[in-house]
Symmetry: C2
Subunit: 335 residues, 2 copies
């Protein structure tokens, strides 16, 4: 039976299966430590298209097709696709699924999008409304830089706390009946803003939201951090990771040794100039799909808490002097 | 029992109640034929704030507070808020709910957002994951003009097919146990693009998506148009309404006499210079909450199909020569 537990957590009576996962990334991500794990590395950031936006759209389209193939299913058998990205009006997602046969639900949670998607999809599936759902999210370094900061040609210098938006797309196929890792629980976050205004330090801004959601999840479920093999945040990067761990110890939860971060897993910070680490909707989505999913499948990881984190700012609202509103959603997954 | 019916429709075993609805609009909307129906009309478009974006954020915040009050409930008893707007990165929504206690799920469906929100919320509730959910959506003429077209100060001339983005916010409180109109069914649309590229004629672009979703709903459920007292689309306006009705008759469904459109209900086109009619997430949200909801409550309307429609374009993708991808979601509601 589906149940609500505590303040923000739901548990699934019949747990949705993650039947397949797929990830396609850019060349810079392919050069990183997870390079061998991705399904495909595109040779150029332009992905054979005439604009960065279209390059990202194609990334999502291709990841979706690969996901259907890996899950041995077809578009007609998918009940919903739940998708999002960072571009204004979510165009990578809406244009990737233009003309497709299945129902489309667009969501926006900034870099937390992939977690929100899996959470909503799991509730829909465990509520008996769907047999197969695709959850997918993308980002692209070049389209994000242009939209949020400066066009690449401007060659702006980056601060040490800045993160590198991942060029990549990751997706999972949820099935009601099947095999694979299972979605156990979902803790949907609330919007937290601790007053940080530096859009070049989003890890620090997102850390309190991540800590809030993780602490809430643990309190809601009565679990301890080491009930999980890994608690893995979305893209806090080096700065945010330290803050998040410290905040959690203030809540009384020691996550040192168990916590990891997709933004830190993506690049080799000694060899690659990615500053504080990776970010973007595509970061947690592709790291989960290529790196964490196989470990859950092989039961090298038996239970993880996957916590994509998002900074819900826009350039306009920052220019108007506002601080950065953030969110994190936690998904409990059993191998 | 929750069930899936046909290609894209779900029916709710235990139907969520719409326990309360609220709508706040701008002065131009207050001057229209529905002026007396809204809960509040703000005296100035700036809503006492220093930017249009903050004015819209406040509109949503105030509508949310009013909704809690009308529903005799408190923030701590709300399980989810599911919100969206038209601004880049959904900032009206994320900043309206910053610091709130309940879980937040941001969605993006352009002007179809309110329908998407009710659909997702109903599935979550009927799946036993929540007792109270708030569905809310807003738009603002001035923030939308600046972002999608030109700053107001530029005084660009509008084409006859252009629609007027509604300054307004509408929301409903869904309750698992309660009274009020009930959500019977949800038909989540697919993304349709018939190749139209004129961003000043979004009604025409959205009409095929509306017709597709309505026809799919009727075929999925085996119903006829006159099983509904009203089939009411989101914001097709004058141009899109005609096209949608014609397209539906090609599908074999005669909706003349039953079909209405929130974009046409909002303004007095003889007295107000709103061109083809209203648009924006706030259009269908505020017309539903202020005008349709009370008629369902009093059972003047016993069953309607509410079909918010959205154009998923961004200025960037249109500048890159793409056509307009559109979507419509249908919500069946019984009085």
């Amino acid at each position: 039976m589906n149940t609500r537990m505590g303040k923000q957590t739901v548990l699934f009576g019949k747990m949705p299966y993650m039947a397949a996962a797929a990830a396609i990334v850019g060349p810079y991500e392919g050069d990183g430590p997870l390079g061998n794990s991705f399904d495909k590395i595109i040779p150029n950031d332009d992905n054979g298209e005439k604009s960065w936006e279209k390059a990202e759209t194609k990334l999502m389209k291709d990841t979706y097709q690969l996901l259907l193939q890996k899950g041995s299913t077809t578009e007609n058998d998918i009940d919903y696709v739940i998708a999002g990205d960072l571009l204004n009006q979510n165009i990578a997602s809406s244009y990737a699924f233009r003309g497709c046969e299945m129902s489309y639900l667009g969501i926006y949670g900034a870099c937390s999008t992939f977690g929100e998607s899996i959470g909503i999809a799991s509730m829909i599936m465990a509520g008996d409304f769907a047999k197969q759902i695709i959850c997918i999210a993308s980002s692209h370094f070049c389209s994000a830089e242009r939209q949020y900061r400066y066009p690449l040609e401007f060659a702006a210098q980056r601060t040490p706390t800045a993160q590198w938006t991942v060029t990549g797309c990751g997706g999972v196929l949820l099935q009601k009946e099947g095999t694979g890792p299972m979605v156990e629980s979902f803790t949907a976050g609330r919007i937290i803003d601790q007053g940080l205004k530096d859009a070049n330090n989003m890890g620090a801004a997102m850390a309190p939201a991540a800590a809030d959601t993780i602490a809430t999840h643990l309190m809601d479920t009565g679990r301890k951090p080491n009930d999980y093999d890994m608690i893995v945040t979305g893209d806090l990067g080096a700065v945010g990771t330290d803050i998040c761990r410290d905040l959690l110890s203030q809540y009384g939860f020691d996550v040192y040794g168990i916590h990891n971060d997709c933004g830190l897993l993506m690049y080799d910070r000694n060899k690659q100039d990615a500053h504080a680490g990776g970010s973007g909707c595509g970061c947690s989505a592709s790291v989960f799909s290529a790196y964490l999913y196989p470990k859950l499948q092989s039961r090298e990881l038996t239970r993880i808490l996957f916590v994509p984190t998002g900074a819900l700012l826009s350039p306009t609202i920052i220019q108007q002097g506002e601080s950065i509103a953030c969110i994190a959603h936690a998904v409990g997954i059993a191998g």
